[in-house]
């Protein structure tokens, strides 16, 4: 191969190889960078953070500040002076910290800024505790007393702490029981009550005056009322129980504040924790995040309903989009006469994939929700009117809208798969006396199924990340109940649902306390990415399985 030497550098193709490799590396770096950023910011949030006690020079005197360092940055002294900090800085650049001081109910705000030169002394006292609360955000302070059943205990730090921990555990248990009753049992009663109300209304509308049925309804209603009263009594007892204990804490201003334990979710002493305990708490926090309901306008608590809603929506979308896409592709490729019209259809389908998703959202709202949903309500749910059943956004319409959005991907992928099935195999089947339909059903479609799965994978990836259209057709900030529960018919397609993508938007940009919620945005984004990856991995697993089964194309 002596000729090789004469080939110029450019002809040899080396620069193009390098160019391609470079492009691939840059893309990889960007993707990995993004994931790492999200992961670090999102996962860091759950690590128990140290609580600093800072003696801070301010207004001519010294104040004590207690809080977590949320963010530290270097800013120029001039910038600070312009911002109104009255201090003669020797340094040109100083460290400025955003301190999360919590206790929003006491101070009225839960963040403040400090600059390093004014921090006269800093320490990490072990006795400082953090209370995670059901409202008003975190509480930071020093334990003073625990009030149990009206008896106030004031003892040593350790003893008090042990007492508080056990009281918080008790409250958590009670809260779970209350939640169970309120959600499942009272929820079920409400559901049945609503059903009864609709039945009565339906009878009215139909002008039926069936005394027997009315009596039956009244009977069931009385029964439900009795059940409800029984539950209510049980609940009242539990509520009294949960409100029994309180804790008194001294905050940084020296004030002593009493907090009822019914409002406390978790109590920790991060400064006193060893690394293993921190790790344990870390995973505990992470699990709570993915399994709990959100609190405080979504800025606290978990995101379970959003995860559930996203997965449900994507699964439902897959169930809808696959048959439609596959049937359309089969018709286009196998049955339609190839010509101008099929070309036109193909071009249109390909272009549909490029239509902005909000346009699909508007279409979904206008057609699915108002026209279809409105008519369904008129026909099948007149008794519930004027409140809409299917006539407002919901899981079903959101899935349908996204199915519409992703159907081009499935069509294109399936068509490609069908085109790749060797002619010889089809002829083999036909030569045995199979009809075209039999050949398709028994040979071609199974062989093209990996390609269909590829289409579905792409569709899932796109649908799971889509937010804009969902805002119009059913995703909400806070859904009162999950679309799947124990009340027949179990799957409630008309219900509104929460969605991770929309949750990110809501928490990050619509919440009253953006600063506090920022880490949650990253954490939620990470979960969204993880959910998409998981959904895709399972689809890829199925596809590889199918490929293995029908591996002929490689031969």
């Amino acid at each position: 191969m002596t000729d090789n030497k004469k080939i110029g550098f450019f002809q040899s193709g080396t620069p193009w190889v390098w160019l391609n490799a470079g492009a691939v590396s840059i893309s990889m770096i960007m993707v990995i960078g993004l994931l790492v950023l999200i992961a670090v910011r999102g996962l860091g949030h759950f690590w128990p953070k140290a609580i600093w006690q800072i003696e801070y020079e301010e207004g001519g005197g010294i104040t004590t500040l207690i809080g977590e360092r949320a963010k530290t940055e270097t800013v120029s002294a001039r910038q600070l002076r312009e911002a109104g900090v009255k201090y003669n800085f020797k340094e040109e650049f100083v460290e400025r910290t955003l301190l999360k001081i919590g206790n929003r109910d006491v101070y009225g705000f839960d963040f403040r800024l400090t600059v390093a030169p004014l921090e006269k002394s800093v320490s990490l006292p072990e006795e400082l505790i953090v209370l995670e609360r059901t409202e008003w955000g975190n509480f930071y302070g020093e334990l003073v007393a625990v009030k149990e059943d009206g008896v106030i205990t004031q003892a040593g730090v350790e003893e008090l702490w042990a007492k508080l921990s056990s009281r918080v555990e008790r409250v958590a248990e009670l809260r779970e029981r209350i939640g169970d009753i309120e959600k499942s049992e009272i929820g079920a009663i409400n559901f049945k009550m609503e059903k009864l109300r609709l039945r009565t209304r339906a009878m009215e509308l139909a002008g039926r005056d069936d005394a027997e049925e009315q009596a039956e309804i009244a009977g069931t209603k009385a029964q439900l009322d009795a059940d409800y009263d029984a539950l209510k009594t049980r609940l009242d007892v539990l509520y009294a129980d949960i409100r029994r204990d309180a804790v008194t804490l001294r905050v940084m201003t020296g004030e002593e504040v009493s907090i009822n334990l019914s409002k406390v979710v978790k109590a920790t002493r991060p400064n006193a924790m060893s690394i293993p305990t921190k790790i344990q708490h870390y995973f505990g926090n992470l699990i709570d995040f993915v399994s709990d309901d959100p609190r405080e306008a979504n800025t606290e608590g978990g995101i379970f309903p959003a995860i559930f809603g996203t997965v449900m929506m994507v699964l439902l979308m897959s169930v809808i989009v696959t048959p439609f896409g596959v049937i359309a592709a089969i018709y286009l490729r196998e049955y339609a006469k190839q010509g101008f019209v099929t070309r036109l259809v193909r071009i249109s389908v390909n272009n549909l994939a490029g239509v902005p998703s909000i346009v699909y959202g508007v279409f979904g709202l206008g057609f699915f929700v108002y026209v279809l949903g409105g008519n369904i309500d008129q026909l099948f749910y007149p008794e519930a009117l004027p409140s809409p059943t299917f006539g407002s956004g919901g899981l079903m319409w959101a899935s349908l809208t996204l199915a519409l959005l992703t159907v081009p991907v499935v069509i294109v992928a399936t068509e490609e798969g069908l085109a790749r099935i060797p002619r010889a195999v089809r002829e083999g089947s036909l030569a045995l006396g199979a009809t075209k339909a039999e050949t398709l059903w028994r040979i071609v479609i199974p062989m093209a199924s990996p390609a269909m799965m590829t289409g579905l994978i792409l569709a899932v990836a796109r649908a799971a990340g889509e937010v804009a259209p969902l805002m119009l057709v059913g995703a909400v900030k806070l859904a009162p109940s999950l679309p799947l529960d124990m009340n027949a018919p179990f799957l409630h397609l008309e219900r509104k649902f929460m969605h991770l993508g929309f949750h990110i938007y809501d928490v990050g940009f619509q919440s009253p306390n953006v600063e506090a919620a920022r880490p949650l945005v990253y954490a939620t984004a990470l979960i969204l990415v993880a959910v998409i990856i998981l959904l895709n991995l399972s689809a890829i697993y199925i596809r590889n399985h199918l490929r293995e089964k029908y591996r002929t194309l490689e031969q």
């Binding site: 195999v425 089964k549 591996r551």
Partner: protein, 272 residues
């Protein structure tokens, strides 16, 4: 092609009869075909006898496959085909509207040049045609699958691994599997389009032996580029050239005393 002459001992086991004494299975009468504007077959007149092996020979592109594929209407799948004249199976034109194509294809089976097993198990490949016919009785299917595999000389090799994927077989085994698949539906006619061209000599030999076996029960039509193969397996041979049937007759006659100049040139290797 290296063939210069065909030794006469090849014809030992062939009946030397004239076509008029045979029972005729397929008849072509003035059969012409064109792909769009390009004519591929010109007025073919041919009688294929029952339970005999008939070979089609001729240079590449002369229309052998085209003619073969007309015999079970595989050409229906191709757009823009025009045919004229008649193609008859047992005296009945197969190109009329009232002919059920799937039934026709069950009667006239076909094996292609490259083995084309389905991505299923060996058993399911053979059972495919049976299931299409609506046979659901398990023992009947099992019996027929075994019978087909025995008759296609494959049972000994695969009898103990019927549930394996068909693609785990070698090329020659795959081709015999495809033949088994074709005979499982009990056709009357078996069309073979260069069944051994992708195979090694030993597999080829097996296929040839198989054809010799099969022709006692089936009418076999085989397209081949291999003169010796045609001489070995067939009773009758048709020579096609540029879409025309040049000569047709008993194989031993055609090979030892060709009636046409073109035939002689072709079988002695002067072109093709």
């Amino acid at each position: 092609m290296a063939t210069t002459s065909i030794s006469s001992d090849l014809f030992e086991n062939q009946a030397s009869r004239s076509i008029d004494q045979e029972d005729i299975c397929i008849t072509c009468e003035d059969f012409s075909l064109s792909y769009g504007t390009k004519q591929a077959l010109f007025d073919i007149n041919l009688k294929i006898p029952t339970n005999r092996a008939t070979a089609f020979i001729g240079p590449s592109g002369c229309g052998k496959s085209t003619l073969l594929r007309c015999m079970n209407r595989m050409n229906d799948l191709i757009d823009g085909i025009n045919i004229s004249g008649q193609m008859k199976l047992h005296g009945k034109d197969i190109n009329t509207r009232d002919v059920n194509v799937t039934e026709l294809r069950q009667q006239v089976g076909m094996v292609f040049q490259k083995p084309n097993p389905f991505p299923k198990s060996i058993f399911e490949n053979v059972a495919y045609g049976l299931r299409l016919q609506g046979i659901t009785n398990k023992t009947e299917i099992e019996d027929r699958v075994e019978w087909s595999l025995v008759n296609s000389a494959l049972w000994g090799e695969v009898g103990d691994r019927l549930q394996d994927n068909a693609f785990s077989l070698s090329g020659g085994q795959q081709q015999r599997l495809v033949i088994a698949r074709a005979i499982a539906v009990r056709p009357q006619v078996l069309l073979l389009d260069e069944p051994a061209s992708a195979l090694d000599p030993i597999s080829t030999l097996k296929i040839e032996e198989l054809i010799a076996e099969l022709k006692s029960q089936y009418t076999v039509v085989i397209v081949t580029h291999n003169m010796q193969q045609a001489a070995r397996v067939s009773d009758y041979t048709a020579f096609l050239y540029l879409g025309k049937l040049i000569e047709f007759g008993p194989t031993n006659v055609l090979f030892t005393a060709p009636g046409e100049r073109q035939t002689e040139d072709y079988i002695t290797g002067r072109y093709g």
